[in-house]
Symmetry: C2
Subunit: 141 residues, 2 copies
DNA sequence: GTTGTTGCAAATACTTTGCAACTAT
DNA sequence: ATAGTTGCAAAGTATTTGCAACAAC
């Protein structure tokens, strides 16, 4: 992929003309150090449980910066709350959500990616981004 | 609209143990008679402009029944408001959303459908449903 | 006449925003 | 010192819910 190389968090803030604060670092740490797909409340509570004082407002404000700078990916599973996951130079992937357990499985399929671009082009458009979620249930063995 | 769909709607209500009211009919008519992807507020306002007295509560309550009975498809474009479209026996399709104009284009691709089932199965799951949205912009001519 | 339905307003859930106090530079 | 940042609470959005008046059967 062609993302700009992994920049550190402080550089992002500098680039955005924002100051470095322990609250902002805490938000990034919290998302970064977890491979789960967390929601804002979850991130907020974890930071507080780690003893760092932060407000929900700051969590949301910091997430916006991280999403804008492609450090974090925002995903809408359709239940009203957005989830966030770090994009530490990972390749792009989509999600499969088990309707029985709620488990989120990541997947990537080259053919699928190519096909989407082809479909957009056939319609006179260029693919900018996409949302693709497969709601699945376990196969009976 | 035609009589057979009205009949269907009444049957759905009967099946659900619900009464037939002009508000419920108005909601179904409003969604049914438009091929656009409307949001609840839009549907609510249109009904009122047509001179039928209805409340937002009733619009939402009726939409729930329609969605549950697969008369209407609910879609989340990611802007916080759900959109609704009629499912008058149409074949399944996905959506392409132009990021410049907001236009929503429907598409269907067999290969894409098959590929998704294959991916789910390769992971030990069965595909139940999916959400697939391509965010696109016009190709430069 | 019952019993379900409606409209209203209040409640909810998530997120955003205004502002005075605070803090990084 | 001072301009950006924070936390709080209030506001904003979309949707849901309790309940008394009302309509369908």
């Amino acid at each position: 992929m062609n993302d700009s190389t992994i920049q550190n968090f402080k550089e992002i803030l500098r680039k955005e003309g924002l100051r470095y604060t322990k609250q902002r670092q805490a938000v990034w740490d919290e998302i970064q150090n977890s491979q789960e797909h967390r929601d804002a409340e979850d991130i907020y509570m974890s930071i507080r449980n780690n003893g760092v004082n932060v407000s929900r407002a700051t969590v949301y404000r910091t997430i916006d910066v991280l999403v804008k700078n492609r450090m974090v990916r925002k995903m809408d599973v359709g239940d009203g709350r957005n989830r966030y996951e770090p994009r530490l130079g990972d390749a792009h992937h989509d999600h499969m959500i088990c309707v029985e357990t709620g488990k989120i499985i990541e997947f990537y399929n080259e053919e699928l990616e190519d096909l989407q671009e082809k479909i957009a082009e056939e319609n006179g458009y260029m693919l900018v981004r996409h949302i693709h979620q497969l709601f699945v249930k376990p196969l009976k063995k």
